[in-house]
Every structure is written in structure tokens, then in C-alpha cells.
């Protein structure tokens, strides 16, 4: 049965949910306060790197990330097909570089539990490391090589998602200002600041770092808040062969010839400005990783707001008292990676289908108010 779906928020999560729901035969209306992809999603480095990101725990979040990584090859093809647009999707693999012998134990711990999930990673050093990534600093004594990790050019990916949605018939309304939800006689209505009202069978909340605002209407606590990421890019630089991770940041070469380096984790409210201190810190560190950067300055600097949560897990799923409301937010550092799986879970929740991975840990009602 065709459902009328309202999606609030046009970041990568809202767009992915729209793409999947519309593809499955529902009628989606996507509502965005400014412009699609204008917030965190357009700012991201586009790494699809759960094995580097997740250090300690084989928990449900790891499973969610791994599943999404595995969905990517097929998913990105579909997005390209419906959009008739191309974007960079690069199976470069990654290197997690370490500077101390004491880091080997940590890498071994991670490798040993991830192996049980079929992750093919290996510690490489010396000549082999040098051959794989000649530009790397000699102070990096070894690296964990994860051949399955990939990256995507996030701004183009988000544009393609938006185009694919439009071509599939999603009705996209942007520049609406901050929407609210009103309840009247048990009926939920989405309201724009100019008074325009939108109604549907289901409302999907994909409002990223702004999601705490829904505490006003629903009787739950939604501890989602912004953590700013400052990031920069260099040009005219020898590209690296892999995504390069370290304890302090990452570097990734894009097909357009730039080298993207991120990112800070600042507590700065909803401020998206770039600070000198934030970028200098990245620059200083980058030179320790890639000596070729010693006399280079980034040509481009920007920042975005990651939707962080109280326990580090996203909020994905239905509200029990409002089964017509589906949350899909709080993806923090991994929203690009998690976009395919989140799109699919939203569509499954809409249709009452089973999910390919357990989502109980992501229950949007799990937080109590003290």
C-alpha cells in the first residue's frame, strides 16, 4: 500500500530515507529548512571506515556500520543510476598508522575481535608499508591495513541522492525555515514558520544535530547535540594511495586532486565557523603524518555539525506512542557510512518489515529524564 511519507531534514539521512521509501512505491515529501546537504552531510570527508573508527566493541553499532559498508557497492550504483550522475566511490582501503611500539597491542586487540566478523585486516611495517604508501612519515612504525574500507566524495554523493530523489518523484520543499510538529486531536501536522501545513501517514525525523527540539512535542528525552568538525583540504599535492588514519586525525586523497584532512571535535554550540586554532592544529599534525605537507597550506577550510548523542549510538526507530513517527538521527561521525542502512531501516519500519541487523539499542525512547 502506498503511504504518504513526510521527511523532515534533507541531509544524507533524510535523502537516503526518501530515496529508499520512494523506490519502494511510497509517496515521499521531503522538507528542509535551508537547502539539502547544506549542513553536516555536505561537510563530511566521506570515509566509509568503520574498522578504523570503532576500536573496542563488537556491539550492535559495529554490526550496523559493517552492514552499511557492505551495502555500499550496490547502493551507490543505484543512486548513480537513478540520478544519471556520477560521483567518486573509491575502494582505496585504509592504513591506521601508529607512532609507538606500544600501539601494536591495541591494533592486535582490534584485529583479533574484528577478525571474528570477517574483517580482513593486517599489520604491515617496514618495506611493505613504505611500498604501499611511500609518502608516509618514517616516524610511523607500522599500520593496520584494512583493504575493505572505502571513501566517497560526500558533496557529490549528496547532490546525486537529491537528484535521484527528484527524478523518482519525491517532492522536495527547501528553504522552509525550521519546521515544527503540532498535535491536534491525536493528529500530527508538520508546520512551516509561514503557516504552511503538511500532512502524511508517517513522519520521519532526520534533523541531525537539531533533533533535541522534538522533546517539545514528544514525551521523551532526545539527547542529541552538535559537535563541530573543522576540516581542510590541500591541493597540488601527491595523492596518497589509502585513507590514512592516526590517533589525531585522518587524510584522504580525492579524485579531484585534493587531499582532505580532518577533523576537530569542538564543543561550540551551533556555530559553524572555522577557527585559526582549530585548523592550525590539523596542519601541524598533518605534517607529522605526510612530510610533503611541510611547506603547504590548505586552500580550503570548512566546518559542519555532527549530530552527537549521549551514549554514542544513533536514534533509529519508531516511537511506541506515536507509531506514525520514525526517528533517524544522531549518526555523529558516521552518517555518510550509515546512510544506506538507515534508509533501509526507515523503509522497513514504514512497511513493518524485519531489519537485517538488530536495532533495539538505537531505540529513540531509551533515554530517561532524571
Amino acid at each position: 500500500m502506498t503511504k504518504q511519507v513526510l521527511i523532515i531534514g534533507g541531509g544524507v539521512i533524510g535523502l537516503s530515507a526518501a530515496f529508499e521509501c520512494q523506490r519502494r512505491g511510497n509517496q515521499v515529501t521531503l522538507l528542509e529548512s535551508t537547502k539539502c546537504g547544506g549542513q553536516a552531510s555536505g561537510a563530511a570527508a566521506g570515509m566509509l571506515a568503520p574498522y578504523c573508527e570503532i576500536e573496542e566493541d563488537p556491539d550492535e553499532f559495529f554490526l550496523l556500520c559493517q552492514k552499511s559498508l557492505k551495502l555500499f557497492p550496490e547502493w551507490q550504483k543505484e543512486v548513480k543510476k537513478y540520478a544519471s550522475m556520477d560521483f567518486e566511490y573509491n575502494n582505496s582501503g585504509s592504513l591506521y598508522g601508529i607512532f609507538h611500539e606500544a600501539d601494536i597491542l591495541g591494533l592486535e586487540t582490534k584485529m583479533s575481535w574484528q577478525k571474528e566478523f570477517g574483517v580482513g585486516a593486517r599489520i604491515i611495517e617496514g618495506k611493505e608499508l613504505e611500498k604501499k604508501e611511500p609518502g608516509l612519515s618514517k616516524d610511523i612504525i607500522a599500520a593496520l591495513w584494512c583493504p575493505e574500507e572505502s571513501h566517497i566524495y560526500a558533496p557529490d554523493y549528496v547532490k546525486a541522492l537529491e537528484t535521484a530523489c527528484r527524478r523518482l518523484g519525491v517532492s522536495i520543499h527547501d528553504q522552509l525555515g525550521m519546521l515544527k510538529i503540532n498535535e491536534h486531536n491525536g493528529q500530527l501536522t508538520v508546520l512551516a514558520p509561514d503557516g504552511t501545513a503538511f500532512e502524511g501517514d508517517t513522519i520521519v525525523i532526520a534533523t541531525g544535530a537539531w533533533s533535541q527540539m522534538w522533546e517539545e512535542i514528544f514525551p521523551y528525552s532526545f539527547p542529541v547535540f552538535p559537535i563541530r568538525g573543522q576540516i581542510c583540504a590541500y591541493n597540488e599535492i601527491e595523492p596518497t594511495n589509502h585513507i590514512i588514519f592516526t590517533s589525531q586525525g585522518y587524510l584522504v586523497s580525492k579524485g579531484n586532486g585534493t587531499l582532505v584532512c580532518g577533523a576537530s571535535e569542538d564543543i561550540a554550540g551551533f556555530d559553524t565557523s572555522v577557527t585559526e586554532k582549530g585548523i592550525e592544529r590539523l596542519e601541524k599534525w598533518n605534517r607529522k603524518v605526510l612530510p610533503a605537507l611541510h611547506n603547504k597550506r590548505p586552500f580550503h577550510k570548512w566546518a559542519g555539525l555532527r549530530p552527537a548523542t549521549q551514549d554514542g549510538f544513533p536514534l533509529i526507530g519508531k516511537l511506541s506512542e506515536y507509531p506514525e513517527v520514525i526517528f533517524a538521527t544522531g549518526h555523529y561521525r558516521n552518517g555518510i557510512l550509515l546512510s544506506p542502512i538507515t534508509g533501509k531501516i526507515v523503509a522497513n519500519e514504514l512497511e513493518g518489515n524485519n531489519n537485517p541487523v538488530p536495532i533495539e539499542r538505537f531505540n529513540p525512547e531509551r533515554f530517561i529524564t532524571l
Binding site: F99, H100, A102, Q248, E265, D266, I267, A308, I368
Partner: protein, 256 residues
């Protein structure tokens, strides 16, 4: 008046030592640290940007307040490595306190007692304030004290397991036999575990995962702070002996 904990002449109002790893994000980390009222923060030296500690991805967020830093040698597989890492940390100026943590097994991360003893001896002689992480064995704990440890940190159970105190008997023996402070480190999962450690007479506890990975780390930090106070007071107050049968709490009047 309760006495404060003193380690190497340094007086601490809080008996909580807190790890800085595994928090979901810096905002939650800061709030949890604040709520816990801890004065001692521990972190792995290998992870820190030693040239610019104030620019480090974790340490930069705790700037502005005064903490006693307790860098640890986690990841070291033998005494030699641990000593090398400790010297790096001291040279960087972040602290002359060092938590010696040496393990070989990547699954259990249990401490290697022999290598820990070696490293403690050397580092104490070099003037470090050494706090070794060690198994809950009273004999090795005593030897560490003799080797110059400023405090000894026996584990309740393996790091990050939340299994609590597996051998309370040993912990109470360690408390009895040592003159330096005993800080129960590793494996504590909740307020109950912390209260138990303090009731056994520990001088303090070191936690990380129990707070960082709680659903609400800030609330858990509050809870742990109170658990330490409750356990400490209970220890000082002196618990009643355990008996097999009931004793009426309102005594039957004897005189008629």
C-alpha cells in the same frame, strides 16, 4: 572529619581516578568528568600528542581546569617498553606520575607481574611517582610497595569487563598488608562494585568504561561519586559482623 587521600605528598579531595578513553564524544566526556569531581585523569601515553599535549584530541578538552595527570603505559609488553614510554611522558612535561601497565595478552590484558615489578623499581629510582596496575595478589602488591610504588592498583577483574571484584578476600588482604594507598583499578562496572571496593578498605578506585560506556555517562559519574562516599563511610563506620541467625532488633525486655 574524614581525612583526604594523600599520594606522594599530594592531597586529593576525590578518591576517584578517571580514565579518558571511550567516551562517546568530548561534550559528554567533559560533563562526566565534571560530575565525577575527580582530580586525577589517566590516559594512554601512546595516544597522546606528546609534542603538543594541549592540542591533543582528548586532552585539549580538559584544559582550563587543574588535574593531576596520571599517564599510563598501556600497550607496553615488557618493562623496557614501559620505562621508555614513561620517560617520554615525563620529558614532555605533562606529569611525573606514571601508571605502569604492562600486558602481553591482547584478549585479557592482564598485567605481567614480573615485568611490572621491574619497571616499578627502575622508575621509582628515577624519581617518578609510580602507580602500578597489577593483579589482585597480596604478595606481588607488597613487593611493589617495597620497590617504591607510591600507591598500588590491583585489578578487580580484567579491564573493561565490568565483572566487579572477583576476589574480595584478596583485595581486603592487600588493604591490610600495604602501607601505601590501594586503588582498585579495572573491571568495576557499577556503583555497587565501587561501594564494595571502598567497604573493603580501598583508598580509592580507578574507573573508565563503567562511566564512559554507560547509557548516561553523566548520571553514572554522579552515581560513582556517591558510591565512593557511601563505601568509604561504611568502611570507617565499621560494619556489623555477619551472623547465621536472626537477632531481634528491638530487644525483648528482660526485667519485669
Amino acid at each position: 572529619m574524614q581525612k583526604n587521600l594523600v599520594i606522594a605528598g599530594h592531597e586529593l579531595k576525590s578518591r576517584l581516578f578517571l580514565g579518558t578513553g571511550r567516551y562517546p564524544n568530548p561534550y559528554i566526556q567533559n560533563k562526566a568528568i565534571e560530575a565525577s569531581e575527580t582530580e586525577v585523569l589517566t590516559f594512554a601515553i601512546r595516544r597522546v600528542n606528546l609534542q603538543d599535549p594541549h592540542e591533543d584530541s582528548i586532552l585539549q578538552h580538559v584544559g582550563g581546569r587543574y588535574f593531576q595527570f596520571l599517564p599510563n603505559t598501556s600497550g607496553a609488553k615488557n618493562a623496557e617498553e614501559a620505562i621508555r614510554i614513561a620517560r617520554l611522558a615525563k620529558a614532555s612535561g605533562i606529569s611525573d606520575w606514571i601508571k605502569v601497565e604492562i600486558s602481553k595478552n591482547e584478549k585479557t590484558l592482564l598485567p605481567d607481574p614480573i615485568e611490572t615489578l621491574k619497571a616499578t623499581e627502575v622508575l621509582a629510582k628515577e624519581g617518578f611517582v609510580v602507580l602500578p596496575y597489577i593483579s589482585d595478589d597480596p604478595v606481588i602488591c607488597k613487593k611493589l610497595e617495597e620497590a617504591g610504588a607510591a600507591a598500588v592498583m590491583p585489578g578487580g577483574s580484567p579491564i573493561g569487563t565490568g565483572l566487579g571484584i572477583l576476589n574480595p578476600y584478596n583485595i581486603s588482604l592487600i588493604v591490610e598488608e600495604l602501607n601505601v594507598p590501594v586503588i582498585v583499578d579495572a573491571g568495576l562496572g557499577s556503583a555497587a562494585d565501587v561501594t564494595q571496593a571502598m567497604e573493603l578498605g580501598a583508598d580509592g578506585v580507578l574507573l573508565n568504561t563503567a562511566i564512559a560506556k554507560a547509557k548516561d555517562p553523566i548520571a553514572m559519574a554522579h552515581s560513582i561519586k556517591h558510591a565512593i562516599q557511601a563505601g568509604r563511610l561504611s568502611y570507617l563506620a565499621g560494619r556489623i559482623p555477619k551472623k547465621k541467625y536472626a537477632t531481634a532488633s528491638s530487644p525483648i525486655s528482660s526485667g519485669i
